[in-house]
């Protein structure tokens, strides 16, 4: 340590070709995201919560049905089995994606690593673009795998399950035997499963944009989860048709339409329209994050 080693590189540094520059940024963002443990842990939690709860809730609800209890959940697993399977585990697992999306950017601010990153890329906005692309690629792979596994776990449990449905026809009580059957070949089902992975990917980018705007982990996580779990669903209580329109166009409310195999009654947007609205919100927030990144002191 006492002797000063020659500071010049032992080998001449290769010239950096211009077209490789963004590729280098993608590589750098991949190095960043894979080299912290929080990424792996958050994804493990996402997988366990999503798959575990899908299996657990489906099994418990089918048990309740067999024992003659009929709650809201019990009837929805009969009337909308795909929505039930994709909505339970992933509905909670999505929170892990929200946290990871926030963390990939706010952890750079809280640790000061953002200044190292911006010294390397003083134009700044390519950092957000590269980070968004790499994170989206990671979430779409993990998200699609988990969406399909959730679906297959759920269908393995519900398929062939026989339920007795009671109804009233012309004043008489009628009982019908119904066998639940779900498969990817039914209309809209494949789109709903693939759409669940797509929804998670855009949700991750949505969280990343909020993280880039707020720059503090706790604040950004609270904001994202508060919106997804509380504010957006509560907006469904707004009165009249304007309330219904506001609710329909909220980011995750619109985005979740693509995860359902068939439209709900009175649905204002189609599945793909809803997904488009969610994408538009996310692009808008990312653009705002980039504008602020360019303007603010780092």
């Amino acid at each position: 340590m006492t002797a000063v080693s020659p500071p010049a590189p032992a080998t001449a540094l290769p010239a950096h070709r211009r077209r490789l520059r963004f590729g280098g940024l993608l590589l750098a963002e991949w190095t960043k995201i894979r080299s912290v443990r929080s990424t792996l842990w958050t994804l493990i939690i996402f997988v366990i919560v999503s798959l575990g709860l899908t299996g657990l809730f489906t099994w418990l609800t089918l048990n309740a049905l067999s024992n003659g209890r009929r709650g809201n959940a019990a009837s929805s697993i009969v009337t909308d089995p795909v929505g039930f399977i994709l909505g339970t585990g992933l509905g909670l697992g999505q929170l892990a994606i929200c946290v990871l999306g926030v963390l990939v950017i706010t952890s750079e601010y809280s640790t000061g690593a953002i200044r190292s990153a911006l010294l390397a890329v003083p134009r700044r906005y390519p950092v957000i673009l590269a980070k968004g692309l790499v994170f989206a690629a990671l979430v779409i792979v993990v998200g699609e795998i988990v969406a399909f596994l959730s679906f297959f776990i759920g269908t393995a449990l519900v398929n062939g399950h026989v339920v007795t449905l009671h109804g009233h026809i012309a004043g008489r009580v009628v009982s019908v035997q119904h066998t639940i059957t779900v498969s990817l070949s039914q209309p809209g089902v494949l789109r709903a499963v693939v759409g669940s992975g797509l929804y998670l990917t855009v949700l991750g980018l949505f969280a990343l944009a909020i993280g880039a705007l707020i720059r503090h982990t706790a604040g950004a996580v609270t904001a994202v989860i508060g919106m997804v779990l509380v504010i957006f669903p509560l907006a469904g209580l707004l009165p009249d048709s304007w309330g219904a329109h506001v609710h329909a166009y909220l980011p995750t409310v619109a985005g979740q339409l693509i995860t359902a195999d068939k439209p709900a009654s009175g649905q204002l947007l189609s599945a793909w329209q809803g997904f488009g609205v969610f994408c538009a919100w996310t692009v808008l927030l990312l653009a705002a994050a980039i504008v602020l990144l360019q303007r603010r002191d780092a």
């Binding site: 000063v4 940024l25 190095t31």
Partner: protein, 325 residues
């Protein structure tokens, strides 16, 4: 070469950097000196494009930092200790920086060996000491083999061996013809490291001169004399061209005089010729640290007004703290 022109930065009402202009030349170590809060770090952040100036501009080799294509190949910077994710290893921290610049991963291992972290590079930086964090920062600065280096308090947290190592590294890099701009709030450290000094206080330029010139200007060459017959001695010394200031008599000892303009042997000769008894005759060399503190304390007083002070005059008046005049 680093050049700042009229650089100004405000945080709310506070002027952190106040119309600062200077040049940092290649081939020598330029020290950037000022007390805590003088605006050194802010100035470096402005040069590096991390903060936006309210007025003025900073360039490196004639270009703004943001316009550099692969900036780490031109400019290396150490800003704060441990500006890195504590859960990431030093090697991965340097690796992602290298990838943004299209540098090969073997260069990462080279700079890790250079700073002596080769053995711990794959451990997470959470467990690193402040000194090890500084070494990672220096490795990051050296990554692209840059011609210009900005180092903000690089010896902070280093042990004496590490301080010596950084000092020698900077000198050698300057000898290679690189531009080395290093900040410190420690005058003594700069006196042995820097060839040239840029001194600021309250965001304003106080001095821009060679270290040698600064030391000569700052060293207060006065002589302390004690005599039971101080009054008569003062008259004799004044007649010979000395400037005499009575010091406060301490604990009942003979009255003391502070004399400038005459050296100690000459004062002794004058006293002997006048048959005056001396109890003490001590040449006073104010330490550099004291001189620097007086200098920058002066800048706080001068800093109150709106008009920028003329740097050279400020230096001249502040470098000879008033008590001897």
């Amino acid at each position: 070469m680093i050049e700042a022109q009229d650089l100004t930065k405000r945080y709310g009402d506070k002027l952190a950097v106040d119309h600062l202009s200077f040049q940092v030349q290649p081939g020598r170590v330029t020290g950037f000196l000022g007390p805590n809060g003088a605006g050194k770090s802010t100035t470096m952040r402005l040069v590096l494009g991390l903060d936006r100036p309210a007025e003025g501009r900073a360039t490196i080799g004639g270009r703004a930092y943001a316009d550099l294509a692969d900036p780490l190949r031109t400019v290396g910077a150490l800003l704060e200790a441990k500006a890195m994710h504590p859960g990431r290893s030093a090697r991965n921290h340097l690796l992602f920086l290298a990838q943004t610049q299209g540098l090969p991963s073997r260069r990462v291992d080279e700079v890790l060996d250079l700073v002596g972290l080769g053995d711990v590079a794959r451990k997470r930086t959470r467990g690193y000491s402040l000194g090890m964090g500084q070494r990672v920062g220096i490795a990051a600065a050296m990554l692209g083999d840059p011609a210009v280096l900005l180092l903000d308090e690089p010896v902070n947290g280093l042990d004496p061996e590490g301080i010596l190592w950084v000092r020698n590294l900077m000198k050698q890099l300057a000898t290679d013809g690189r531009t080395i701009f290093v900040s410190s709030h420690l005058m003594n450290e700069m006196a042995v490291t820097a060839d040239h000094l840029i001194v600021i206080g309250k965001g304003r330029l106080i001095a821009d001169c060679s270290t040698q010139e600064f030391i000569e200007r700052s060293s207060d060459k006065s002589v302390l004399v004690r005599s039971p017959d101080a009054g008569r001695l003062a008259d004799l010394l004044a007649a010979e061209g000395g400037k005499v200031t009575p010091e406060d008599p301490t604990d009942g000892r003979a009255e003391a005089l502070s004399v400038t303009g005459l050296d100690a042997p000459r004062i002794g000769e004058i006293a002997a010729a006048g048959r005056i008894v001396l109890h003490e005759l001590t040449p006073q060399l104010a330490s550099l640290e004291e001189a620097f503190m007086e200098l920058t304390a002066g800048s706080v007083e001068y800093g109150g007004g709106g008009a920028p002070a003329a740097p050279r005059q400020t230096t001249a008046s502040a470098a000879h703290p008033g008590s001897h005049q």
